[in-house]
Symmetry: C2
DNA sequence: ATTTGTTATCGTAATATTGCAATAATACAA
DNA sequence: TTGTATTATTGCAATATTACGATAACAAAT
């Protein structure tokens, strides 16, 4: 046991849960916030900004990236991370649509 | 290690992560959706509807409840669950405010 | 008081997540 | 090519989550 039974839920439900999972760790929320507040989309100083090891940040970035939320471009030696705003917007809308639907039928 | 370093993040960031965690498991999303789609706020047949053991559902309900998202009233023998719409709305707004702020400063 | 129906809690096993050091991989500069 | 800077990956160890059976706790009815 211990594994989530993904197959017993609808695609919509699994999608909402998958989106929420990205934001369910403070490091990932902090990374997204930090990237967004930088003038240009700044890179490896995420590690300095947040107090976690480089390997850990890289791992969290992978989770964020797997959700389609990052665009990266190389600038000199370093990789310049940027939020994929279109996808970000899309997730927000999916989430809101779930919230709104749920509120509607409520007693 | 393996424990999240909650103390190195701001309250706002931890709050967003905590909200997201509630929705990060498909069972909890399914439970919320199911409760909302019932005419009256129906009770223990959540167990029948979703294919999980009663103990497991109860555990998920506790997580949802700890986030302030449930109102329960006794009706005869059984506990009648209902979504706390005000709190639900509040979480939606907190989430949206994070999304909107993040989108704003984006490159 | 006993039974019945309902929900919560406990104990435990399986799996997932988090975090880091070490190391690989990559890109640029000299 | 060699060195330097940056990011990804690998391989653990620690902790958290998920799931379930068993059992407790509670309310209502008999």
């Amino acid at each position: 046991m211990g594994a989530s039974k993904v197959d017993i839920y609808s695609n919509e439900i699994n999608e909402i849960a998958a989106i929420a999972k990205v934001f369910s760790h403070p490091a990932r929320v902090a990374i997204l916030q930090y990237i967004s507040t930088q003038e240009a989309c700044i890179c490896n100083d995420i590690v300095d900004e947040i107090g976690l090891a480089q390997a850990t940040i890289s791992q969290h970035l992978k989770v964020i990236n797997d959700a389609g939320l990052l665009k990266g471009t190389f600038e000199g030696k370093s990789l310049c991370y940027c939020i994929n705003v279109e996808r970000f917007q899309e997730l927000q809308e999916l989430f809101n649509s779930f919230f709104n639907k749920t509120k509607l039928n409520c007693c």
